[in-house]
Amino acid sequence: MSHAHADEHYLQAKGFYNWFFSVDHKRIGLMYLLAILFFFLVAGFSAILVRTELLFPGHTIVDARGYNVLFTLHGAIMVFLFIVPGIPATLGNFLLPLMIGAKDVAFPRLNLLSFWIYLLGVVCVLYALVGTPWKDWLDTGWTLYAPYSVQSSTGVIPITLGVFILGFSSILTGLNFTVTIHRLRAPGMTWHRLPLFCWAIYSASLIQILATPVVGITLLLLIMERIFGIGFFTPALGGDPILFENMFWFYSHPVVYIMILPAMGVVAEILPVFSKKPIFGYRAIAYSSLAIALVSFFVWGHHLFVSGMSYWSRWVFSLLTFAVAIPTAIKVFNWISTLYKGSIRLDSPMLYACAFIFLFTIAGLTGIPLATLATDVHLHDSYFVVAHFHYTMQGGTVIGLLAGLHFWYPKIFGKMYNELASKVGFWMLFIGFNMTFMPQFLLGYFGMPRRYYDYLQEYADLHFMSSIGAYLNGLAYLFIFGNLIYGLFKGKAAAKNPYESLSLEWTVPSPPPLTNFDEVPTVEDWTYGYASEQNA
């Protein structure tokens, strides 16, 4: 192989070795992106099958067990393989060093190791889900609640092992990013000049480091329960299934902030650029990210409001859950204020960012009745919850990921996608998504329990509408990704900084050279000095 030039960009290297053994954060980020988008489509397809089954009451395409397998498949792949690595491992990996003016992450080899471990975890999870004869496909739901998961004859051990391994990948990625942000910031890039995306990734990384080990040990205990009958979760042996719920949600609640915080970060990057205005209340947004990360550990109990936990536990957890609402509200107000007196370009990244705010307000507000004990008892484990977390996960994280992908697409690939097509895709998604999940709020309020294969005739209309919405939703994704892929081959070459951003990643060529910066840049001012009038 020839010696590469220093200014060779990172996409130029070809061949398996150059990618699979690459320690370059950009290539690793891109490999992650490919992997998670693949799993997004797989899990999305199983969601379509789930909605098809629910099109009409009774048997539509699969039997009860088949349905349980399908929603388990959807949940497990979406959560463990797509959304947890989600934005941090893809956009975070790609952009973090560029944004803080570093040549790479702190531990490039560890970064590659995380990716390999991720792939190993993928193998285990897929084995449990689809690698065995049909009768052994996992049907416990992604939450793996004991004692059902202790008794189930399906692949609980492989998936548990897989999630344990994925946990390692997640911990190592989080650790890598945290050290990177602490130690590799370019001269002049103080904490208070750090782009908000980095703050968000930092907060998410803290959760990855501190929450993941607890689910690791919990899942290990589940394996031990199945092998040795250690009795922690098996009632007949004196164990307590509610302990599993407690320990599981100690991780799995903070994990939703691993998913949503980076998406919030993406939005906070896009809004100032497309409004040509400084972000409003920089410190409030930065610190509220951190506050959400730190407080998120203390609210897991709201998943157990009807589980049989003690009266006072429910009381305290309800109060603490409300505490998370406040930093979230602050963020929303700040984002909206950023637009005030701006000069707004409604390109597709900006459309996605605004849609994020729109959908996220729904997601956040519908969290209030779920935090309020009186109403949560009724709404718990109903379709209301399903709709609520799909508004946060799809309306929040996925829309945020798409916003980021469209925004940084020229930087990542050096090409432009078709703007008109991406807007069409956006509207399809926006309408399809709301049509899918809006009826589910009603269903839930009317008492429709979740994870039901069959339902009473009285719920049929709303289910039908939701399923039709799901098809539009699915089509929209095909259209959007089709457009992005088309752009890779036929798109125009992108300029270095098409959106006139002031952030560091736009000061390097598109696509960026392998070593990012020839000279480590010195940062003079904060990132958001966009205003044309200086009235400070």
């Binding site: 053994f21 690459s22 320690v23 080990p213 607890v214 690791g216 040795f228 922690f232």
Partner: protein, 202 residues
């Protein structure tokens, strides 16, 4: 295969920077380790609270003298490890190798004592799953044992590299970070010992 940016051709870092990052990263990793054991500690406290009698009865099957002996052995190994780091900082290579080997020796002693505790238990038909106390006993000490083994592997690696003269006052990050890990293993044991061995001996 000399493509830049691949596994064997990562860009060079400033050694001081690399040392700082390495150490900071290790501290963070220790944080995850604490929480990994934390899940087990949480389970311990809950079941201890619910089944106090069962725990007292269970821990009466353990020999607190063995536990104390192992505590002392691990403490000494921690000391020798600290001395190894000190030797590396002072570029005293012979002393470094000697201390690393001593640490390994004490770690091995720990394993032997552990073996003398575990094997008779198996012979008495006590396994994880016998009752909740013994489940916790075997899981915590087992996970700790796993960490001892991993620690021993890395200390062995350090000894081999020290033997090649890799470490000196300018470059001792590896020894120090290995030391951090080993001390954590010690700290975990400091908590496990009274909780498992001494709760029932009143």
């Amino acid at each position: 295969m000399s493509a830049p940016g691949t596994f064997f051709h990562a860009h060079e870092e400033d050694p001081v920077e690399a040392y700082q990052n390495f150490k900071f990263g290790m501290w963070m990793f220790l944080a995850t380790e604490v929480l990994l054991f934390g899940g087990l500690f949480a389970a311990y406290f809950i079941f201890k609270y619910r089944y106090h009698e069962l725990f007292v009865k269970g821990s009466s099957h353990l020999d607190w003298r063995m536990g104390s002996l192992n505590t002392l052995v691990l403490l000494i190994s921690s000391y020798t490890m600290a001395m190894a780091v000190d030797a590396a900082q002072r570029s005293e290579n012979q002393k470094l190798i000697r201390n690393l080997l001593l640490t390994l020796l004490f770690a091995a002693t720990f394993l032997v004592v552990k073996g003398f505790e575990w094997i008779p238990k198996f012979n008495h038909g006590i396994y994880p799953g016998t009752d909740i106390y013994f489940s916790i006993y075997f899981l915590t000490t087992g996970l700790h044992l796993l960490h001892v083994l991993i620690g021993m592997f890395f200390i062995g690696l350090l000894a081999v590299r020290a033997n090649k003269g890799r470490y000196n006052s300018e470059n001792f990050g590896g020894v120090e970070v290995g030391g951090l890990y080993w001390h954590l293993v010690d700290i975990i044991w400091i908590f496990l010992f009274p909780l498992l061995y001494l709760v029932g001996s009143v």
